[in-house]
Amino acid sequence: MEIEKLAIRDFLAGCDPLQQLAATSLDQLTLALVIQYYRRGSAMMQTGTRNHEVMLIRSGAIEVTTAAGELYGRYAAGDWIGYRSVINDQPVSLDVVAYEDTLVYLVPGRLFRQLMQQDARFNRYFSNRKPERLRGAIRDIKNSDYSLLSIYLSELAHPALTVSRDTGIRATALKMTELDQSTALVTDAQGLCGIVTDLDFRRRVIARGIDMEAPVEQIMSAAPHTLPADAPASKALLLMARYNFRHLPVVSKDKDGNAAFGVVSAADLLRSQSHHAVYLVGDISHAEDSAALKRLSQHLPQALLNMVRSSLPAYDIGHALSSLGQAITRRLIELAEQQLGPPPVPYAFVVGGALARREQTAHSDQDNALILADSYDATLHAVYFANLARFVCDGLDACGYVYCPGDIMALNEKWRQPLQVWRRYFEHWIEQPEPQALLYASIFFDLRCLYGDETLLTTLRRDILQKTQQASLFQAFMAANALAFRPPLGIFKGFVLEKNGDNEKVLDMKKRGVLPVIELARLYTLAQGIDELNTMERLQALADAPGGISDENTADLKDAFEFISTTRLEHQALQIEAGVAPDNLVSPEQLSALERRHLKDAFAVVSEAQNRMTRRYQANRFR
């Protein structure tokens, strides 16, 4: 019998969680299988029946519904069905129907339970509680040392200052000072023979009183460890930790084949984790004109890519990218004021949407507005603010923050109004909510002041939060609105997917991924009068607030949001790497079976949270 040659065994070996299963267990599993075929539309399992086999889908797709007929999820090749009833030895609690012609492999329940006991990974995978599984997955991602493994020294090293070994100590120090280097590499005819750092001058020259004119070889560390430029950064970190030094020569070949030397420092390695972002903010705030800002903004995709590669949490990446968006906006306003002169009346330049929440990604448009002091007189001041808005919004568009498709920009006169008009806007939205108005108004419930007189916004927000707490009709409308964005229950095969430009089935990670959580967190905080903007921070505040959301639910929701956000950012990073304009449309095929599974768990958590929201705020009144 040639089990190892069977395609079935290969398929099993590629399925989660069987990849690491021992060969003998895999053989045993293969031989124990039963194969069954279900024509589209035929029933595969029924609520209340006993089940003694776990299904692994080989091809086709199936649909799972609750006894009440609600769609629970859709599953395809590589997904497991029926394991809960087998593990718990309980009747089936859901209906399973073939959604397409489907071929399944059935694992006998006895063998399945045996594997649960024998194999820790297998056991974990089928662990009963989805949120726990999801939390484990997030931990795995964050703990992976992916960051320094995937960055190469060639990307981090700077060209080194080299001196010959007979160069004087003083001459070396002068050169280092002149070139602003903290290290010099020492060479002789054979090549690299040593390294000196700032520290050596302190420890070896001053402390020991060595003659300043003596050759540098007397104070160098001889025969230093080196690494080739194509070594991963993680190797440098290991060497540094092991031998306790802070600077490492990096050897590469120049175009003539001669050895070229660079240096990488411990600080470079640490900085690579949050590469660019911090430095970019500094450069942006000194940019001389819009053109310089536009040039700097072109580093944004790379900054995102670096941060994703470093496995930073999505929350941190959102903050860092928003800091960049904020810096660019602020600098544009400063430049506008330089050109137009000081403002005739105080104003606040406020932003909405992702930038306000500090959740920007690679694909962001601009949402902004001007709150003018009530001393504003349209006949005298309108032109100034129109010009300012034009300057800033055009500049943002040039920097990649494209014009808001809904026209929610300071460019639009409607959103360039004195405080008292804004008060009326909000009163209207809160006291006489209409679904259409609320669609874009929801952007204005996340407002942050980036420039100007911040008190204009803080007074407005205080009033808003007082009103939203009482306004149950408003809350119900917001809840109904939030339900416009539902997480997909099955993330492939069928109606839950959108089509992209190439007519491929894709999953909109913004609309169906992050927005359901963002909308939900906004509603709860507005209803509770909590003054937070960032979704994660809102959720945390809700957990802390009496009558918010339970700690457990909040923790689950935060995990789900983090996982969905990470998937979205990883997709954008891949697109940036591939030289494609980043978007939010993820093709399910590009996700691994495991990622799809975790994503499904995350969506299930969000979906449950939405159901609780619906009940609490009576969203059904308008549906």
């Binding site: 019998m1 040659k5 069977l6 395609a7 079935i8 194969i35 075929y37 091809s59 086709g60 012609d101």
Partner: protein, 230 residues
């Protein structure tokens, strides 16, 4: 055996029991073959595939056989088997690349009589399931004749013929190569199997049959052996 073409299997079995002495063959003959009117749900099948050194059963030999059980709409891998047959001839080069059976592999095999005895034990009371019966039927008959001196009766379903008849009934034209196992499987959206191996092909045939049956049974819930055999 001229009469094997027109005598019922039951009569052939009775007749051959008087002639055949080999115990395995006798046990096979003593077990009634399935009746034509049996419903498909109550039938037991044995999906079978041979790899051979050529197409002509008189001059070529069986290299390997693979088979798997199918009953009540379920393929059970536990009872599957794959036998390499030990031959006394050198393998022709051309076939080697197709079957990935090398001379070495073949010499590790078992004698044809032994493999046939295993197969016959599994065939008792079952319907053979093959894709393109031309090969398996002729080679099986030749092997029986060689080992037992007589051709023993068996009933079979040919998934290729079955598809042909379904297409003819629907008055659909048949494209070239459309009826090849891999192409038919693709039409039924069954997964692609790469390796050319007798057991893999037997499994592939069994899966195809499940798909065909599910379609036929959707039209005729009382589908019986008569409707699909031959």
């Amino acid at each position: 055996m001229m009469f094997s073409h027109w005598l019922s299997p039951a009569i052939q079995q009775k007749y051959l029991l008087q002639k055949v002495t080999e115990p395995t063959a006798r046990r096979y003959l003593a077990t009634p073959l399935p009746d034509k009117n049996t419903g498909v749900a109550d039938l037991k099948f044995l999906a079978l595939d041979f790899e051979t050194t050529g197409l002509n059963a008189r001059s070529a030999a069986i290299l390997s056989m693979g088979y798997t059980h199918l009953a009540a709409g379920r393929i059970v891998l536990r009872d599957s088997a794959h036998h390499l047959i030990k031959l006394d001839i050198e393998l022709p080069q051309a076939g080697v690349t197709i079957h990935q059976i090398t001379d070495d592999g073949m010499h590790q095999g078992i004698p044809l009589a032994q493999a046939l005895a295993c197969l016959l034990t599994q065939m008792r009371g079952r319907v053979l399931l093959v894709h393109y019966a031309g090969i398996e039927r002729n080679f099986l008959q030749a092997a029986m004749k060689q080992v037992y001196g007589y051709t023993l009766p068996f009933v079979w379903v040919d998934t290729l013929r079955l598809e042909q008849r379904m297409l003819a009934r629907a008055q659909r034209p048949v494209a070239e190569n459309q009826l090849r196992l891999a192409n038919l499987r693709a039409q039924y959206r069954l997964p692609r199997y790469g390796a050319h191996n007798a057991l893999e092909d037997a499994l592939a045939t069994a899966e195809l049959f499940l798909a065909q049956c599910s379609r036929l049974q959707a039209q005729n819930a009382a589908l019986s052996l008569r409707d699909i055999m031959g």
